[in-house]
Subunit: 364 residues, 2 copies
């Protein structure tokens, strides 16, 4: 088959630099191994079974998913699955179904969710689902707020849904990697207190699961953690780079786009807007816009419509011609991937493989 | 077949109230007919052929699309298609392919785009594609900035790509419907000047295509317009209601979600986040958040993660129980629809029909 070139793809198109991705996967696994931490990548970033398989080959302890769709599509890549989401409805059924085939865990924060999970496990009639009690460590999203509630949820477990430990997500830590000291010290105190209290209640956690991409490379500074669950690191994005969790050169995922209008002075418009990049803002200090160009980091996507991205040319002498192509690093790769029908794995100018996402869309 | 109920759907799920949708479609068509304006709905909002067919049945002049995918999927519903986007690559080919079967127009703003379109029309070897010259009337996205440039682009037309008129998009007008007077007066002056100049150059536009959902019901106040292209009106959304372009009761599209955590005090978390609602901000004065509850408009989605929406309960005494379901009106329906695998048409508690989008994803 003749080599396919990036230049032959219709735009917008989602490209994955396969060499950069492999380096990202290896770097995180090596870090985790060096520090005796299990790596349980969150697969919501890539939603792709072959990448999940590669993560397992490189040494991951297991995989993390958020939805029933992701569980069905990605669980076959592992023998140790965590559905990191409270269990009601389809998610409880997905966990129970997975449990017949592999070690399966869920994370939840209420006795009601324990009951819903137990019901689903009983209905499925095979296997058991381990429970991690989710602890809120400052993000104020899900999670029990302290030891007393954690103990109550843990004590509701058993009988098909055994208590296995704790999960937390340090998503509130959005400082640059080098200035996370205070946030990590505070988190360490929280973990110490809760783990001590659980121990006193004869509920010492066997698993303590934490970790996000922005904090990943400082995970070894936290006590008690047995595993980490970064997701974004597989591709990285403008936010990861803005927080120094990676360099811009470690961003493996870009949106290929074509310049379609230069009629309005001082800008150029490309055919990738919020339906390709997503409208997530950048979550790193002192940065704005919705993406920035590979190879021209001074050029950002200043505004978007659904199918239009407006490039700010005020910091560059570059004046693109109509029809010219650019590659854009998005703010938040997980939500951009979720918008794609297909990803294209590239090396240099060649498209080496193209694939549909195995778990499309959200939810259920 | 037994009746399917909304209660049987896994969440999150995208629901379309079929009665509200039908009323929205009729209201806009009646308005356009009453004022002698053609209605050419933008189908990027629904991406659904049967809805496009219903728009045509009710009296639409034709349909608007933004991408090659939309053109292929939705053009069969009409004999008069506008691809409202500059023509390079796949879009130029899609326009040329459509031209063999129906009246086909594109809107563009450069001589280069005229040439790319002509090349595609010549390559396809059948039909011709009419050109609307896009005029920037204040949004500063695409569009020539005045009569001189419009004349230059129009004069580059002909020979397979005949000049047919003007297109503009008043997307910069984001005032409440009742206070658009100044913006509309300014737009009227712009249109007068450009149409006069085109007439003097023997390029009087046969078609002048304008209109957005926020301005739609004041379209009759603008001179020269022959047709309008609202899209959002089919479903409406929180932004449309916030601008008084509709009432909250005219919002036909909601995301059905389940309360999955109440562990953090003062809030409830549902299983619909940015991967179901999109992270588009609301574009109406004095409103915040990412959605609001059907039947409980005082409850908004305050924050989101990909699979989590955090409901702000500070303005209500309502305290949802875990597992309870809610329906959320999103800020911007077009980008929420684009995230769905399937839409569910409902009347009361019954799911009357479910369908996959005919044109998924963005671009090309």
């Amino acid at each position: 088959m003749p080599e396919r070139l990036i230049a032959s793809l219709p735009t917008p198109a989602a490209l994955v630099d396969l060499d950069r991705m492999e380096a990202n996967l290896r770097r995180m696994q090596e870090y985790a191994t060096r520090h005796g931490l299990g790596l349980r990548p969150h697969t919501k970033t890539h939603k792709t079974r072959w990448i999940a398989e590669r993560q397992m080959e490189l040494g991951a302890r297991g995989l993390t998913v958020a939805t029933a769709t992701e569980a069905a599509a990605l669980a076959p890549a592992t023998d140790d699955l965590l559905l990191a989401y409270p269990t009601f409805g389809a998610r409880a059924r997905a966990a129970a179904e997975s449990a017949a085939r592999r070690t399966t865990l869920v994370a939840l924060d209420s006795i009601d969710a324990v009951h819903a999970l137990r019901q689903a496990v009983n209905d499925a009639g095979a296997g058991e689902v381990g429970v991690l009690v989710e602890l809120d460590v400052g993000m104020r999203r899900c999670g029990v707020s302290g030891a007393e509630q954690a103990i109550a949820v843990a004590q509701a477990c058993g009988d098909g849904v055994p208590y296995r430990g704790l999960m937390f997500y340090p998503g509130h830590i959005r400082d640059m990697l080098s200035v996370q000291d205070d946030a990590l010290a505070s988190l360490a105190r929280t973990l110490d207190a809760v783990v001590d209290a659980l121990g006193e209640a004869d509920l010492a956690p066997e698993i303590v699961s934490g970790g996000s991409t922005p904090t990943a490379f400082r995970s070894h500074e936290l006590p008690h953690q047995t595993e980490i669950r970064p997701g974004t690191y597989v591709f990285n994005d403008r936010t990861s780079a803005g927080l120094d969790a990676c360099g811009l050169d470690d961003c493996a995922y870009t949106i290929l786009a074509t310049v379609i209008s230069t009629a309005v002075a001082g800008q150029a418009v490309v055919d990738a807007g919020s339906k390709a990049l997503s409208s997530d803002p950048i979550r790193a200090p002192a940065l704005e816009g919705f993406g920035q160009l590979l190879g021209r980091p001074e050029v950002t996507v200043d505004r978007m419509s659904e199918e239009h991205g407006v490039l700010d040319l005020s910091l560059t002498d570059w004046r693109p011609r109509l029809g010219e192509r650019v590659r854009i690093i998005p703010n938040h790769v997980c939500v951009s991937v979720n918008l794609q029908r297909e990803l294209h794995g590239v090396r240099g100018e060649a498209v080496e493989r193209s694939w549909r996402l195995d778990a499309t869309g959200w939810g259920a």
